[in-house]
Symmetry: C2
Subunit: 323 residues, 2 copies
DNA sequence: TCAGGAACTGCAACCGGTTGCATGAAACAT
DNA sequence: ATGTTTCATGCAACCGGTTGCAGTTCCTGA
């Protein structure tokens, strides 16, 4: 049906190897011949078969992108950026969702390993031990998790958490809560570390919480009971859920309790009150992760670490602490 | 490096074809032999190479999923469901984003065509003519667009729009606005058709609007100027943006103007006022689209049309019309 | 004038599976 | 005992490219 390299060879009177080189090593073929071959190929609508190419070269020109939950609004901008960036470099992206389940994540890596040249692991829930073991099968770039000797993109959430805590402290809050995220989340760990190191404020850690608005909703009662006046939530969804839960119980934000989220998702910007939040450079992280992965194919694996800055976006969900 | 079919054959003392059949046609091989081969394969960590298999069978076991904008919260639940459903059937999914650009969409289909067994086209911006032409290259299932002779999943937005309009009419609104979506959007066309057919209410159509909250924000002035008391927006993002724009101009929702969205995205549920909206069965659509596509591989292309019902979710952004 | 390259191109093996056909052995019918 | 199936497996060509090697032609410089 579709034209193959042999059809093109026949129609342009050269050997298949010449056609092959026309596409994969143009400088090795005479420009006159090359143009003729290209014209014929164009005419026949020939496109190289990537599966066949993959077979001999061992390079599929595909990459895998594994996230915990596509529906979590934190990920789509990252996926979108990574996918566009990869495509511009002639790579296609398999996107897979683990449903926050480490076992699914591991199985996914296995089945994907043979089909891709490398995998972008975003906010993995797997332990470092397992990740290191799987690394033998396929190159990784890890996003939002520190794994020894592996190319890594980090969004500096520790710094973001410090910014958020200082912001609250500056508004006079003396006792604040940290709503931590899922066990196994590096992000959550970093936030807890930042909280523990905070000076001049008492930070009580609550959790783990599901990284969804339900998780935030469910935490409302405990937050009220704890007597804090400020909250740093694991992410914006949790923050929004929490605000909802507080409203239901008649507690006003930011009047009585101030809330800071993390991620700067669209919903937060549209929420009322508009969410004060730690903005994460997700699109940049997606692009950089692709770059790092493709780069790691080239030379002999230079593990690199890139840390991207986060920033605090002050909107309406935080205010002066109540006397 | 990785074990191949020949390694397994050698180690288990049979010919490669027997190993091949063990995996792709188990009933053709003696159960004793089969078990031995399976044991050896397990031992060597053998996994069939899909690229090689694709080369001979012509089936890649991959499908493409093309959406206009991954960041649009309407799509992630669909992507998530489709991806999970496909994986359970041993298919992997390439996700690609066209940035709402028909040209990118066309190019994407071309480059993907050779790499996948079929493509899920979600809310395409391409004209039917072009889609029909491209259909020669690769099987499609089209979601949210009616294309003659092609397997199609429709979410009945016409019915949803009628429900929304009746809801507004029931609340006493006599003059309402329809904020239409991008040119080329089938959904938008259906909504306009439903609006034109509405009885007992006057519907003025405004647009096209960008399918984002910016689009809604930008439409606020015109909505106020038009003297309508109710609005049906192209989607929830537009609705939320519009509400924001109305607030900025001192117009209250639902006090002075009622607003209905479409999609039932999370942000709408979390918005204040909570959005009244037409809920779309996105996850079901994703699963069904995968089923239809895989089914179409089997027999001789039975174009099927599935229409999924939509429903109106009444929340807080709609109320009695002002006298 | 001739050795030594450089520039092109053809040849053929190979990547890792699949599959139609042939072979041989065992099971069955007559 | 002989002919016919059925079952299990081996053989080898093939899918559509890539690539090391070798051969040819032509150019260069001594």
């Amino acid at each position: 049906m579709a034209a193959t390299i042999r059809d093109v060879a026949r129609a342009s009177g050269v050997h298949v190897s010449t056609v092959s080189r026309t596409f994969s090593a143009p400088h090795l073929v005479n420009s006159e011949t090359r143009n003729r071959v290209l014209a014929v190929a164009e005419d026949l609508g020939y496109r190289p078969n990537r599966a066949a190419r993959a077979l001999t070269t061992g390079r599929t020109h595909n990459i895998g992108l594994i996230v915990a939950d596509i529906s979590n609004p934190f990920f789509p901008p990252l996926i979108k950026a990574a996918q566009a960036h990869a495509r511009a470099r002639d790579y296609h992206v398999f996107v897979a969702d683990t449903d926050e389940d480490p076992l699914v994540e591991e199985e996914l890596i296995h089945t994907l390993a043979k089909q891709v040249d490398g995998v972008l692991l975003c906010s993995p829930r797997l332990s470092n031990r397992v990740i290191e073991r799987l690394h033998a099968d396929v190159p990784f770039v890890v996003v939002n998790r520190r794994v020894k000797g592996m190319p890594t993109i980090l969004m500096d959430i520790g710094q973001g958490a410090r910014l958020a805590i200082e912001h609250l402290a500056g508004l006079g809050h003396r006792r604040i809560a940290l709503l931590s995220g899922p066990t196994g989340s590096w992000t959550s760990g970093e936030m807890c570390a930042a909280a523990a190191a905070a000076e001049g404020v008492e930070v009580v850690i609550m959790g783990p919480n599901a990284p969804t608005e339900r998780g935030g909703l469910a935490a409302a009662a405990e937050v009220i009971g704890s007597g804090v006046t400020g909250v740093l939530a694991y992410n914006d969804l949790v923050a929004i859920g929490l605000i909802e839960g507080l409203y239901e119980r008649g507690v006003r934000v930011p009047g009585e309790i101030s809330v800071v989220g993390v991620d700067d998702i669209v919903s937060g910007r549209l929420n009322r009150p508009k969410l004060t939040t730690v903005a994460m450079p997700t699109a940049a992280a997606g692009r950089m992760a692709v770059d790092l992965l493709l780069h790691s194919f080239g030379d002999g694996a230079t593990p690199t670490l890139a840390t991207l800055e986060t920033s605090l976006v002050v909107r309406e969900s935080t205010g002066e602490a109540q006397k």
